[in-house]
Amino acid sequence: MSAVYGRADQVLHRNAGPDVVAMLPGEGDVHLLSGPAAVVWELLSEEAALDGLIHAMADLYDRPAEEIAASVETCLNDLASRRLVEMHRA
């Protein structure tokens, strides 16, 4: 069983140039996602498995997948801890 990530349905968000601003209604904080976090957010416009996200980021940044895997997972966990992203078991 693998993990699938997606944006939380209730999140409000906007593009801000290369960045993204996002908030969970009722939480109060507006989060600024920039750099790779904004790219991950863009990739999550459709639900994606962790492996797929890692390979997509590796292609975009032209780096070996194993080199960036930990960073992508950390980013996803950070977004999940802010409840902007949800993880499901596929």
Binding site: D9, R14, N15, A16, P25, V30
Partner: protein, 388 residues
Amino acid sequence: MPDGRPVGFREAARIVAGFGLPAGPDPEPMVVAENEWQTFVARVWGEKLTGLAIAASHGGVLPLSDERAETLLERHRRAMAWCLRVEERLLTLDDRFSDAGIEYAVLKGPTIAHTAYPDPSLRGFGDLDVLVRGRDFKAACSTLRQMGFGRIVPEPRRGFDERFGKAATHRHDGDSMEIDLHRTLVLGPFGLWIKPEVLLDRAVPFGLGDRQIPRLDDTGMLLNVAMHASLGWPPGLAPLRDVLQVSSAMAVDWAVLRSWAEAWRLSAVLHHAFATAESVLGAKATVDSRIFSDSRHRRSESRALRTYLGERHAVGGTALSTLRAIPGLRDKAAYMEALAFPQQEFMRGRYSKRSYGRRLLTPARWGLQRLLDRRHPQQQVRFTPRGD
């Protein structure tokens, strides 16, 4: 500094406002003069155009140095963060109005951003506009009060809102966010002639987060933005952009719009909105909009329209044309009485000192201004975009 045609802040803002329109011009790259850059940034911020400015920059029309790009981007981030807070408040409003059984539709702002523009970040907004039925107006005011929004200026007299009013602005005690609670779309005769309940009957939902929020249907939305662009004061660039954006991107029922225009005396207003948008933004409106230029506008429409524009606006033109539009002597008398002798709460909200004398002198001031305008016509206010 990147290369481009040197332009002043006004022209740059105007070109930004028209950027990306389907039948728009293909402007050459432009560079805002150094001494006008900060004014330009303030202008696009004030006009809610930071998203289009960023898009124009990415599209090569507004090439920017790194420093300028960061300045603009920082403003845009702040603008978008505020939009999210407004939308969060809209979700709360939806909960409260639903609980109170208040039927409503969101106007302009978030609805246009999410439905008419290819990306909502292209259309900023600073407040909420909400249309309710006249019978729900008081309950809606009360619900907003419970949400922490206080009405800025009370109604002149009890019952004025439901009979003659356009909207009441409410401001939040904490963050100063504003919600305009509308009973009709505009102040004055056109606001009295239209039937807002017809627009509410046709409301449709739009998606916001995981929720569905009521808005005017596409035809109602175009009517709303056109009236705002044509009759709003001072006129702005974003409303003019909205007219061309909504008319080209949304599924407008032009036959219905024409029937409304005829029934509600809006042909001149719609013609004026399209003509002004084309003239200011340099883009062509959809051919469907030509039905209004072909219309023979009624004299009452044209006369009422003139009172919203230019010199007559500042000297009581709208109030006088409203008086003409109110049917029946009894209602006319009630309108005049409410404006001449408003309740004390209205006076306290409107003026720093409660002075009926000052209030009663207003018609005399209008008359004097009209006299001066006749003698010095070059000083009259003309219909030009905001700040020009």
